[in-house]
């Protein structure tokens, strides 16, 4: 072996060892978290975290983490929701807003497995028992459509352990390592520099977040602006809407069979309200069409699209410019409408045709 090869081999060993250490660090949560404070940084919104263009470092309200969900056994209503139910940027989270408006304790559960029939529900001892299912538009087909997560059975303990190991060992690798390599104190400034340069020279955002509007400044989630079932340009055929509505109706009927009321709240994507900032193509009214289909099937649904569209026309900021979620005004208006629907008894009166 020549001298340069010997040197090269030593370097290869060194790089290999460093790479192995980095991998191990990425897989060790306490160390990885300490090294990547930006992973959980919400100081400018989740889209800014994804794409740190300095021109978009706009003021952003702090997260209010004071609210604690009551136990389901002590709640009249259970709100099963995604991040829209959980965020609290300058306002209490949705379940807290609902508790105030409804005058009843509202518990919160994450919609990681959004089929209410597999969850702990408000007990029969409560005076009213309501299930509110919230889901953002971009996840409806994937989570609640045919074959979605809601229709899957809960895994057994052994299988769950195996799946967890699989996730740990394989599937989450890329996310862990990407966080470690791109969101640490050393590389974050480089990422900011590149993002800002790309924006200023090419007018582009980054993977995960796209810039479509400078005046007013607005970032959009990549997947919301694409052609996949999560995106604005997806072809929501009548069959897609019917299948989705049939699934949600099944869930609603199951809840009603157990003697509970059911309210469904599809939250429009940010792009569905601000679509004119990204394209000339009109919104295909996916959510309003789904709402109409569900109402015709007797499901209690809250349609936020007309209200949010009207608020935006009136100059109200419904969504944060550098975050995917709603503002304080948007969250409060959503809570008003949901409370109104439940307290007016729309969930109790509908006939779902359940024998």
């Amino acid at each position: 072996m020549q001298q340069q090869d010997r040197k090269g081999l030593k370097t290869a060993y060194l790089i290999g060892i460093c790479a192995a250490i980095l991998w191990a660090v990425a897989k060790t949560p306490p160390i990885a978290r300490a090294l990547t404070p930006f992973e959980h940084d919400t100081s400018h919104g989740d889209l800014y975290r994804q794409c740190p263009i300095q021109d978009f470092a706009l003021p952003f309200p702090a997260s209010d983490r004071t609210w604690q969900s009551p136990p389901v056994a002590e709640a009249d209503a259970l709100l099963i929701g995604d991040s829209f139910s959980n965020v609290a940027y300058g306002h209490p989270p949705l379940p807290a807003l609902l508790s105030t408006r409804m005058g009843r304790p509202v518990a919160y559960a994450s919609n990681a497995l959004p089929n209410p029939l597999r969850m702990e529900l408000p007990p029969e001892t409560r005076t009213r028992r309501i299930v509110i299912l919230e889901g953002v538009e971009r996840q409806l087909i994937e989570f609640l459509g045919p074959g979605g997560r809601s229709s899957r059975g809960a895994p057994s303990g052994l299988l769950k352990a195996a799946l967890d190991f699989r996730l740990w060992a394989f599937l989450e690798n890329d996310a862990h390592i990407t966080y470690l390599l791109t969101r640490n104190r050393l590389t974050r400034p480089i990422a900011e520099m590149i993002a800002t340069a790309r924006y200023r020279l090419l007018g582009e955002g980054c993977p995960g977040a796209r810039v479509f509007s400078v005046d007013p400044p607005m970032l959009f989630l990549d997947e919301e602006t694409g052609h996949s079932p999560r995106g604005y340009f997806y072809n929501h055929t009548p069959e897609v809407i019917e299948d989705l509505a049939a699934n949600i109706t099944d869930i609603a009927a199951g809840v009603k069979e157990r003697g509970l009321e059911f309210v469904f709240v599809p939250v429009p994507n940010k792009v569905s309200i601000y679509h004119d900032l990204i394209t000339d193509i009109e919104y295909d009214q996916f959510v309003p069409k789904l709402v109409a289909e569900l109402q015709s099937r007797g499901v209690c649904v809250v349609d936020l699209v007309p209200e949010f569209t009207e608020m935006r026309r009136a100059g109200v900021q419904v969504y944060h410019p550098t975050d995917t979620h709603w503002t304080k005004v948007g969250a409060e208006r959503a809570a008003d409408l949901i409370a109104e629907a439940t307290e007016n008894g729309c969930s109790a009166q509908r006939d779902l045709g359940v024998p």
């Binding site: 790089i15 790479a19 394989f170």
Partner: protein, 479 residues
């Protein structure tokens, strides 16, 4: 695991260090473990399919070696063909078959009761199945001995650089290289790295930038003008070239670092001067596979002309179907098959006409004309390849050939984005031109040091500015 992921950035040096730190006799072990890990990062359960294929072919090959009776040998080969192609059919073509049967049946009031399964296509199944088949067929033909070492045989099927999207290697080339004693070579690392870097550049900074524009255009072909549709089609031509060509370069570069030389898969295909030339330069490992295991057994170009032209058409139809379980791919194959046949039939007449009508033209002009014509025709074929349905493809053709004005809506992309995309297409084309007739990296190596560093810096800046770090899949993973 994706080549264009941060995970791979750590995986490669760890594997390389482990490989060279292990004594030669046992080097197949870290490489095989790494290959399993590489594949299982996607869907661990689907590794069972490769294990099954490998098990069948390993046993069949050893039995073939020990068997003399012709009938028994044929039976063994058939067992291998049925098991390998059966898996491929079940996972890749079952739904296509059922849907086609339903469509045809409903025309005759026949409604088959078999349901579509909507199975997830196992990653790389078309590639490793073909690699497995070539091994068994070679042993059957007595062109090579059976591999008795199960570890090396498994590694031949699972070698991570080329596992999921080729190049489809032959056992006669790859197995001896996997067994050979490779000493660490700094030159191999450097030249391998150059290939990896260029492959990543054309994948992440070209293909992945072109992809969203192509998607937007092909998603609504009726909405755009003829010019936009042409642009979308040209962008797709470069997207698929840079995507698949990029993957192949990374695969070749990675393998070279381990001392293994994989076959070249692309040879600047868009500089081809006719369709036959194109297929000698595009996805070479697949073209040569079809030549050796389908075209030649069918009779090749021997026998009556009609027979050999039919063989050409059959190969292209199968090639189309190999690419995807959809009639659009079959039509794409038929398009290339028909064009190849016409090209062969009219070769003499065309040469005569060119001689008579364009005798005055300088050679470079004729080459340019032929190259442009071939590229335009290849692009016309790509429309069927890219469009999700026959109706969409028809809409694109209609839009282009009727000079469609579109609805007047603007593409949801900044003008600068489109201009940068054209610039990058130009860079790829210029790079191909520069490399014509020689290994392109030799050109780089011979340049003065200052120029090389300046070039590397420009490439790095372009990569930082233009690359899409979102970890997009490679198009050929779906095949």
């Amino acid at each position: 695991m994706l080549f264009n992921s941060f995970q791979f950035l750590l995986f490669l040096p760890v594997t390389l260090a482990l490989y060279f730190a292990t004594p030669h006799r046992w080097r197949w072990v870290p490489l095989l473990i790494a290959s399993f890990y590489f594949y299982m990062c996607w869907r661990p359960e689907y590794v069972v399919l490769i294990l099954f294929s490998a098990g069948v072919d390993y046993i069949v090959a050893i039995l073939l070696e020990r068997t003399e009776a012709k009938a028994a040998r044929r039976g063994l080969l058939l067992a291998s063909l049925v098991s390998n192609l059966g898996l491929l059919f079940f996972f890749k073509y079952y739904d296509f078959f059922i849907n086609s049967l339903t469509a045809v049946g409903s025309a005759f009031s026949y409604h088959p009761t078999l349901p579509a399964l909507s199975l997830l296509l196992p990653l790389g199944i078309s590639f490793y199945t073909f690699q497995a088949l070539s091994y068994t067929i070679d042993v059957y033909r007595r062109e090579r001995a059976a591999e008795h070492h199960a570890g090396y045989f498994m590694l031949y099927l699972m070698y991570f650089p080329q596992l999921v999207a080729g190049p489809i290697e032959r056992s006669t080339r790859l197995l001896p290289q996997l067994r050979a004693h490779h000493t660490f070579s700094a030159d191999n690392i450097k030249s391998g790295l150059r290939l990896v870097v260029w492959g990543l550049f054309i994948k992440m900074a070209v293909a992945d930038r072109l992809a969203p524009v192509v998607d937007a255009i092909y998603n609504q072909p009726e909405a755009w003008s003829a010019g936009t549709l042409v642009m979308g089609t040209i962008f797709f031509a470069f997207q698929i070239y840079c995507d698949f060509g990029g993957y192949s370069l990374i695969a070749i570069g990675c393998a070279r670092m381990f001392g293994v030389e994989l076959m070249r898969n692309f040879n600047h295909p868009y500089l081809s001067t006719n369709i036959i030339d194109f297929w000698r330069r595009w996805h070479i490992s697949l073209s040569t596979w079809f030549r050796d295991y389908v075209y030649m057994p069918l009779g090749g170009n021997t026998g009556p002309r009609r027979r050999y032209l039919t063989n050409v058409l059959i190969v292209f139809l199968i090639s189309g179907l190999w690419h995807g379980a959809s009639w659009t791919f079959v039509i794409w194959g038929a398009f290339h098959g028909t064009w190849s046949i016409l090209s062969r039939i009219t070769r003499d007449a065309r040469a005569r006409i060119v001689g008579e009508q364009l005798g005055w033209a300088p050679g470079w002009f004729l080459t340019l004309y032929r190259t442009a014509f071939t590229f335009a025709m290849v692009c016309l074929g790509w429309i069927f390849f890219r469009a999700p349905t026959f109706a969409d493809a028809s809409a694109v053709y209609r839009g282009i050939f009727t000079g469609q004005a579109g609805t007047g809506q603007s593409l949801p992309f900044d003008t600068r984005t489109i201009l940068v995309n054209w610039l990058l297409v130009g860079v790829v084309l210029a790079w191909d031109f520069a490399g014509t007739g020689k290994l392109r990296f030799d050109v780089v190596q011979r340049a003065p040091v200052a120029l090389r560093y300046a070039g590397a810096l420009v490439l790095l800046l372009m990569f930082m500015m233009f690359a899409n770090f979102g970890g997009h899949n490679f198009i050929y993973f779906q095949f």
